[in-house]
Amino acid sequence: MTVMKICGRRSSYLTRLAAIVCTAGAFVVPLAQSADSTNMKTLTPEELVGVLKSKDTKPLVLQVGSHIFFVQAHIPASEYVGYGSTPEGIERLRLRVAKLPKNTSIVLYCGCCPWSRCPNVNPAYKELQKLGFTNVKVLYIANNFGADWVDKGHPVAKGE
């Protein structure tokens, strides 16, 4: 009986501990996921490949990161705009989209660094929103363009 009481108390303690841990985890996991809390509409590399292969109207794909990266490898038919984190890059972005209808489908990408560390896509996305564009998405690149696009065997073009 004493043993049962001890076991009962222990299991009650463990149950409470487990509940605390689970509750804490429920808060921690979303916080970790919300490290990138930019609320950008995104699509995965696989989704973009599907769109580019389809017979539908293709989006305008703009690279808003490094020029050297673009020259090494870029998404076919994408255009280089420049660093979304610089005034020069934002100005080039503005010029590129100046005459486009506001419902133009646009996909931005960078791939310089891990997603949560990229300084370029968020400012570029926000700029397009500010300009009134309603159909903008960002290509979700978790690690970098090499690992998440090139090494996955997705279509690549080189040069300017």
Binding site: S66, Q72, S85, G111, C113, R117, G146
Partner: protein, 165 residues
């Protein structure tokens, strides 16, 4: 029954062959040479990887706009300070589009090793630099001993460097 045991024996033998082949490819000297290159560093001096033969070299591809790179560079500076007398050098290859921000960065962070602006062809020679930082640890014989993609802890570099000294 006899046929089954023969099949099993054959499969075991095949498996052993596969394991033996794998082991033979991972033993021995299979490190590939680090491609040589010729650049000009920010001080205007020629920078050739081959000039560092005999030293352990940390070849770091980075950029001024790369946040993980900024976290890693102080560790490389420290590593160089502590191990240069033993024959360790760090070479920084910036993937910025021009040298202006690189010069400012070099001064601000007091980078104590040669820094040059890289090219896309150099990046291609190293298997493509499509994410930063990418860091190669090169042994005294000029061979790539390790490659790291993304920010790497200082202890990891230190361990690898010490093994090669």
């Amino acid at each position: 029954m006899k046929k089954t045991s023969q099949v099993i024996l054959t499969e075991i033998l095949l498996l052993l062959c596969v394991v033996a082949c794998h082991n033979s490819s991972t033993t021995g000297n299979t490190l590939r040479p680090a491609p040589d290159f010729s650049l000009t560093d920010l001080s205007g001096h020629p920078l050739h990887l081959s000039d560092y033969r005999g030293k352990v070299v940390i070849l770091d591809f980075w950029a001024t706009w790369c946040e993980p790179c900024k976290e890693e560079i102080p560790h490389l500076i420290d590593l160089r300070n502590r191990y240069s007398a033993q024959g360790v050098e760090v070479l920084g290859i910036s993937m910025d589009d021009d040298d202006k921000p690189v010069r400012a960065f070099q001064q601000k962070y007091q980078m104590n090793y040669p820094v040059a602006v890289g090219t896309s062809s150099l990046a291609d020679q190293y298997g493509g630099v499509l994410g930063l930082p990418i860091t190669f640890v090169i042994d005294r014989q000029g061979r790539i001993a390790a490659k790291h993609i993304g920010a790497t802890k200082a202890e990891v570099f230190e361990t690898e460097v010490k093994k090669l000294l």
